[in-house]
């Protein structure tokens, strides 16, 4: 097998989606970080055993390496200085619940009704993108590590240097806000 030909084809086919994936985690402010992570992934492929390349499923293999390259960068980014350690205070609940902890009137989203083909459209995914990008920084980081990097809670807490309680708080905030955002921007904004 000619490895260089294979890698060349993989670069053509997979570079763009890998870059999208890396940029989701390594934000636009650090554009070159995402490009470096993708570059490092292909470098790792070039030095890999050719026998391995002939049997792997490219998508799983490439995104598996890329995930590790992204995680390496996130660990470096959050270890030294960036203050993720302050517990996140969720102020969204005061807009959702009354002082007896019940839903406020006209706030709770109604059941979503949407045909499957609609939620697989590019337009729908753009709305998801907007909703995720509108999250506050810390919940966004926790949410995207869990949902898109598929990290377990311990890995997320360890990488960001946050407690389990803070992790739960961030995840809850992110999910609640995404519910409201999708309800407003995709599901016609109906409430109960």
């Amino acid at each position: 097998m000619d490895k260089s030909l294979d890698v060349d084809q993989w670069v053509r086919q997979w570079r763009a989606p890998m870059l999208r994936f890396a940029r989701l985690h390594l934000s636009h402010r650090h554009r070159e970080d995402a490009e470096d992570a993708v570059q490092d992934t292909f470098t790792a492929v070039l030095v890999a055993d050719p026998a391995t390349l002939s049997v792997v499923e490219p998508r799983r293999y490439l995104f598996g390496i890329l995930r590790n390259k992204v995680m390496d960068r996130l660990r470096k980014r959050y270890r030294p200085s960036e203050s993720m350690d302050r517990p996140y205070e969720d102020d969204l609940d005061q807009l959702l619940f009354d002082n007896r902890d019940h839903w406020l009137s006209g706030v709770a989203p109604a059941s979503w009704q949407s045909p499957d083909d609609q939620v697989e459209s590019d337009q729908f995914f753009r709305v998801v993108d907007v909703c995720v990008n509108n999250l506050p920084a810390k919940p966004a980081r926790v949410f995207s590590m869990k949902e898109f990097l598929e990290c377990d809670p311990e890995e997320i807490c360890g990488t960001l240097g946050i407690s389990k309680a803070d992790y739960w708080q961030c995840l809850s905030r992110a999910r609640k806000q995404i519910h409201l955002c999708l309800n407003q921007n995709w599901f016609a904004g109906e409430t109960l």
Partner: protein, 68 residues
């Protein structure tokens, strides 16, 4: 008795699925009597399916073979 805000926190933080049986029973009872939280729970399950598709979509190769 579990209140809406606690139920929604347990659900959205991901703790509910691994919670002790007593908490899950209490949550189930709350869901039975609260139409708001019942709708939210259905939507949350839908959100999980959407995110699954979104993850898949993110990792799709470009149809034109991508940039060289």
């Amino acid at each position: 008795m579990m209140k809406c805000s606690e139920y929604i926190y347990q659900l959205t933080s991901g703790q509910l699925q691994d919670a002790p049986r007593a908490v899950r029973v209490e949550a189930g009872m709350h869901r039975m009597i609260c139409k708001y939280c019942r709708a939210f729970s259905r939507n949350d399950a839908t959100l999980d399916r959407m995110l699954e598709r979104y993850r898949e979509q993110l990792k799709q190769p470009d149809e034109d073979g991508g940039e060289p």
